[in-house]
Symmetry: C2
DNA sequence: ATTATAGTTAACTATATGGTTAAATATTAC
DNA sequence: GTAATATTTAACCATATAGTTAACTATAAT
């Protein structure tokens, strides 16, 4: 299951590269849920969901808490944070583009005047 | 190469789930580069890089411009934007957590007073 | 025209993934 | 203690991925 040697971002992005897993994460945004509850919306066996949950757990996108025979899942900060940290560098890209656009607009306005 | 039926976010996250591809994206943050230039830092054949570039291109994380026999690559807004849009919903999660923390701290302060 | 350069496509291999069903584990209920 | 419930693990299958080398395409240089 999920290559053990992958780096944290590999695991996180890999985990999010699957529609079912993204849905699970979104679902958990509205609160803690059991494996059974999480499986319910999907046309898929429980073992399949169990695997998806493990992938998300390994990526530290969710965490598991066993209470009796049930496993309760919830969002975990660690993984989510890593994504946003990584993608932060794009802000630079964006801001540059925005700056360029602004510069361009300003220049144009000056010419128009 | 890269399942044709994948949804856009599948492709984007999948593309980013590989260290080599993430490095390429980061490299492109500092400007436009050719395939050869992008391949240079990696201990990997050119065809391997060619495939990675195609994956990133399909995900609309980068775009390609052919000039003569060279292919120039640069970051593309579309894919990057999709990631940040998708991960926006986590802000809610974060803000809630922050709110809860604040509430907790405030309550505690009131008790301490 | 030949040769060199930049890059892709094809064919292949080993390993990983996403699903399945059947069996195992652990806890709760009767 | 036996049955039911919640969930995972095992074994398996089909397909996808990441890399390889060899062959191909297209442009540039001599």
């Amino acid at each position: 299951m999920v290559k053990y040697y992958k780096d944290p971002l590999d695991r996180i992005f890999f985990a999010l590269a699957d529609k079912t897993r993204r849905s699970i994460v979104q679902e958990l945004n509205s609160g803690i849920k059991t494996a059974k509850e999480l499986a319910e919306p999907f046309m898929m066996s429980l073992p399949a969901i169990s695997k998806h949950l493990k992938v998300l757990e390994m990526a530290k996108l969710i965490k598991r808490e066993k209470r009796g025979r049930q496993h309760f899942f919830s969002l975990q900060a660690e993984g989510l944070e890593a994504v946003s940290n990584w993608s932060e560098f794009f802000d630079t890209f964006w801001n540059q583009n925005l700056d360029n656009l602004e510069t361009y607009i300003n220049k144009k306005e000056n010419i128009d005047e």
